[in-house]
Symmetry: C2
Amino acid sequence: MTIALPWAAAAGVAGVLTDLFVVLLAAKLGDELSKRLGQPGLVGEILAGVIVGPSLLGIVEVGEVLEVFAELGVVFLLFWVGLETRISEMREVGRRALSVGVAGVILPFTGGVAFGLAIGESAATSVFLGAALAATSVGVTSAVLLELDMIRGVAARTVLGAAIVDDILALILVAVATGIAAEGGVDPLELGVVITLAFAFLAFFALGGTAVMAKRPQLLTEPRFSESPLLPAVLICLGLAALAAQIGLAAIIGAFLAGLIVAETKEQHPIEDEVAPLYAFFPPFFFAFIGIELDLGALADGGALLLLGAVTAIAVVTKLAGAALAARGMKREDARVVAVGMVPRGEVGIIIASIGAAAGVIDAEFFAVIVGMSILTTLAAPAALRRAGQVPP
Amino acid sequence: MTIALPWAAAAGVAGVLTDLFVVLLAAKLGDELSKRLGQPGLVGEILAGVIVGPSLLGIVEVGEVLEVFAELGVVFLLFWVGLETRISEMREVGRRALSVGVAGVILPFTGGVAFGLAIGESAATSVFLGAALAATSVGVTSAVLLELDMIRGVAARTVLGAAIVDDILALILVAVATGIAAEGGVDPLELGVVITLAFAFLAFFALGGTAVMAKRPQLLTEPRFSESPLLPAVLICLGLAALAAQIGLAAIIGAFLAGLIVAETKEQHPIEDEVAPLYAFFPPFFFAFIGIELDLGALADGGALLLLGAVTAIAVVTKLAGAALAARGMKREDARVVAVGMVPRGEVGIIIASIGAAAGVIDAEFFAVIVGMSILTTLAAPAALRRAGQVPP
C-alpha cells in the first residue's frame, strides 16, 4: 500500500488539478510582478510559462489538457474582444482592414519564403515559415490594446479586422502548403472551396448572426436553464469556435464572431459582467502556455540564435512595411498604431508551426525559432504600442 | 489536400471544442426539458449525458479532457456550496454530522461486503463494492439541496458534513482495499498515517484557514493582478482541491474547504456574484459526464439488471437505516431530510469503482452496476428530498 496516492484513477486527476493550479498561480504571480514593474500583465504571464515549463523548472509539460485550456483562453479572449466591438464599427473600418490585412500577409509571406529558400530549406519548409510569419496574433494584440485601454479606437478596430483577414489568409496558405507537402500539388477547385467556405462563414455569421440577435435579443434569456444570458452566450461562443475550427479556420475567428453577435444585445443585458469571470479565468492559461511551449534548449546555440534574430527581424520589418503601406491615408498616429499593432505573432503562427511539425517539414529548431519570434514580438508590443499611440505609461 | 481539416494540430482542438460544445449544449437542453417538466435540472443533465454518450448516440466518448471538465464541475460545485456555508454553522452540526457519517458508512459498507461475498465475489471485489456503496455524493446532494433552496437549513448542513465524513471514510476503506488487493495486507502504521493526514488536512484548513481569512479578508484584494477577489479565490479553490487529491482525499473536499475559507470574506466582497459564472459553466459537465460514463450495453441482460436492482436496494436501505439511526433526536422533518439526503451516490462511488477497475478487481459489469446505482439513487433524490422536506413542487 502506497500512502501518498493509493489509487490510480485519482492520481491522474490530482496531477491535472496540480498542473492547472501551478500554471494559473505562476501566471498570476508573473502578472503581479509585471504590473508592479509598470508592464502589462501578459508579459509576466508568458515569462511565468517559460519559468515553470520544460525550458527552466520543468514543473509542467505541454499536454492535451493544458493545450485545451490555452485554446479556451484565447477563445474567451476573442469572445471578449468581440463583445467590446460592434459590427457597425467593424463595417466602418472594413475596407481599410482588408487592405492592411492583405498587405500584411504578402510582404511577410514573401519575406519568409525567400529567406527559407535562401538558407537552403525545402520549398515546403519555406512556405510554412512564410505562413507562420504572415499570421498576426489577434490574441496578443487585442490583449495589449485592452490593457492599454485603446481597444475602442479606429486604429484598434482596423488592426483587429486586418489581423482576422491575416489569420484567414495565413491558414489558406497553410492549406496550400500542406497540400504541396502531402501530395506535391494543390487542386485549384478544392482550394476554391476552402476559400469560399471561409468567407461564407465569416459573412454569414457577421452579418446574419448580428442581424438576428439585434432583432431578437430575448433569444439569450428565453431558456429556463439559465437565470442569466451567460450560458446561451457561452454556447454561441463555443459553437462558433468549434464550427470555425471544423471547417479549417482558427477557432478564435468563430469566438470573435460570437462576441460580435452577442454584443448586439448589450443594451438589454449586462452580458459583459457575466462573461468577465470566464475572461479572467481562462486567458492566463493561453499566455502561460506560449511560454511553456518555448524550448530554450533548442535555441541554446549560436546558429539557432542567429536564425531567431534573422527571422524576428524579417517578421518585424516586413509586417511594419506592409501595414504602413496600406495604412497610408489614415491619421498619422492611427497609421503608426496600425503598423505596430500588426507586428506581434502568437497563437496562429505557433499553430501553423505545429502543423508543419506534424507534417514533418518544420524541425524542432525551426519550431523553437518560430515560438521564440512570437514571444519576442509579443514582449515588445506593449511598449511599442504605448509609444505609437502616445499613451502615458 | 483534404478540405475539411487540412491540419493535424488544429483537428485535435476542433474535436475537443466540438465535444465540449456538444456536452454543454446537451446538458442545457436536458436541464431545460427537466425544468419544463417540473424536475430539477441535474436530472436532465445526467440523462443528456446518457443520450450523447457511448450508450446511445455515441457522439462523445469518455476522455481525459471531459474527465477534467467533469472534475472541475464538481470542484466548483463544492466550492460554491462552501461559499454558501459558514464554518460556525458547520461547527453547530459537527458532532451530529460525524455520527450520521459514521453510521452512514458502517451499514452500507457491511451490506455491500456481505452481498459481494454472498454472491461469490472475491474479498477484494466485495470490499470495493462496500466502499462504493458507502460514499454519499456530496455533489449530487448539495446540487439538489441548492435547487430546492434547502441548502441553509440544519438538515442540509448535517447532510453536508456527514457526506464529507463519509467520503473520507470511504476513501480510507479504498486505501485498505487497494492494499489488500495489491499486497495481500495492510500495514497498520501506514494506514494510521493516511488517516491522520486526512483529518489533519481537514482540521488545519477548516479551522486555521477560516480564522486567517476572517482576520485578513483583504488577502483577496491586495494582489494587483486581479481587479476583483475572483482569481485569488479561485487559486485557493484549485490549490486546496489539488492538495486534497495529492494526499489521497477527494479533490472536492479541498474545494469545499476553500469555499468555507473564502466565505469568511463575504461581508467585504461580492464574491458569490463573481464565482457564479464559473459555477454556471463547469458543473453541467459533471452531471453529463456521469451519464456519459454509464454503459447501458453492460446492463442489457437479465443478470446485470437483477444485480443492479439488488445493489440499488441495498444502497438505499442501508443508508436510510444508518442515517436515520444516527439522526434520532433531531426534529422529525430534519431527520427525514438527513436520512433521504444521504442516499444519492455519485462522484466518489464512481471514483472508487474506477479505482477498483484499474486494480482489476471490479469488472465492466460491476462498474456499470455501480454507475447505474449512482444514477438511480441520484434521479430519485430530488422528488424524495422534496417530499421529506415537504417543499412544494
